[in-house]
Amino acid sequence: MQRFANPNRFAKSAQRILPAIIGAMLILFAAGLYLALVQAPQDYQQGETVRIMFVHVPAAWMALLVYSLMAAAHGAAIVFRHPLADVAAKAAAPIGACFTFLALATGSLWGKPMWGAWWVWDARLTSMFVLFLLYLGYLAIWQASENGRGQKIARIVAIVGFINVPIVKFSVDWWNSLHQPASVFRRGGPTIDPLLLSPLIVMALAYLALFLALWLMTMKTEILKRRIHQMQIAAAEA
């Protein structure tokens, strides 16, 4: 990882791998949407509404993964003092916030026909909403302060807030919940039918590729922003 400690080298490497990631993302989205909307059968209980799963579940997985990455990146910034670790965490946050919003919004659209309610203060939904608030709070800290103090507070929020990630994951096991329990990442393997599981996995990979592409672009933008800032300071001092 130290190889990419040089921001210029990182930006050049990102530029090289971005086309491959974008290409893979487009193929995965095309295949995933075909499998999700054409190939996958209706559910015997939920009918067509089961198709919401193919956009809801990947968004929820990505929301948790991105927050975990942010906490890990800030941890790496503290322990290894990697110069790009804070940049990586900051760049991931708006993308993670969008995934969390989508998990909540599509969940609500799925909940209304299935549970008869747009929203319930259920353990899974509430902990996911807390995750969304953590993202917003984290972004607000960066927005309010671009100096080192803001960076320190952002690190604390991301690392302390990580405690919410296992709460979201295990909320359906620890408390009585309207939300269904885990049916993919569970001991004993997935319980979901392979005809529904394959589109879900392909869509999740498409979301992952989209995240990687946007993350690299946002990191590059942040590196350029910092370089511009340094050049402006140098010009002002000259």
């Binding site: 909307l37 054409v38 209706q42 009918g47 067509e48 509404t49 198709r51 919401i52 956009v55 809801h56 968004a59 708006p94 993308i95 969008c98 919003f101 989508l102 919004a105 599509t106 659209l109 799925w110 209304k112 026909p113 989209l210 592409a213 946007l214 672009m217 946002t218 590059k220 933008t221 350029l224 922003k225 370089r227 511009i228 050049m231 402006q232 010009a235 000259a238």
Partner: protein
């Protein structure tokens, strides 16, 4: 997909909002990157003559 099925509106809305948010985010990210690249190249162009003068001294 059966467009006459009950509750199909919820499915369309879920895919619609997902597409809107993700495409919007991708466009915003791309525009921000292009704007920074343009800003940096303009700054480099402006500072290049000064550097040349500095080297000549």
């Amino acid at each position: 997909m059966d467009f006459a099925a009950p509750n199909i509106g919820f499915v369309i809305a879920a895919y619609g909002i997902s597409a809107l948010v993700l495409i919007g985010l991708a466009i915003k990210t791309l525009l921000a990157l292009k704007a920074r690249e343009r800003e940096l190249s303009e700054l480099e162009k402006r500072q290049a003559p000064r550097r040349k003068v500095g080297h000549g001294r």
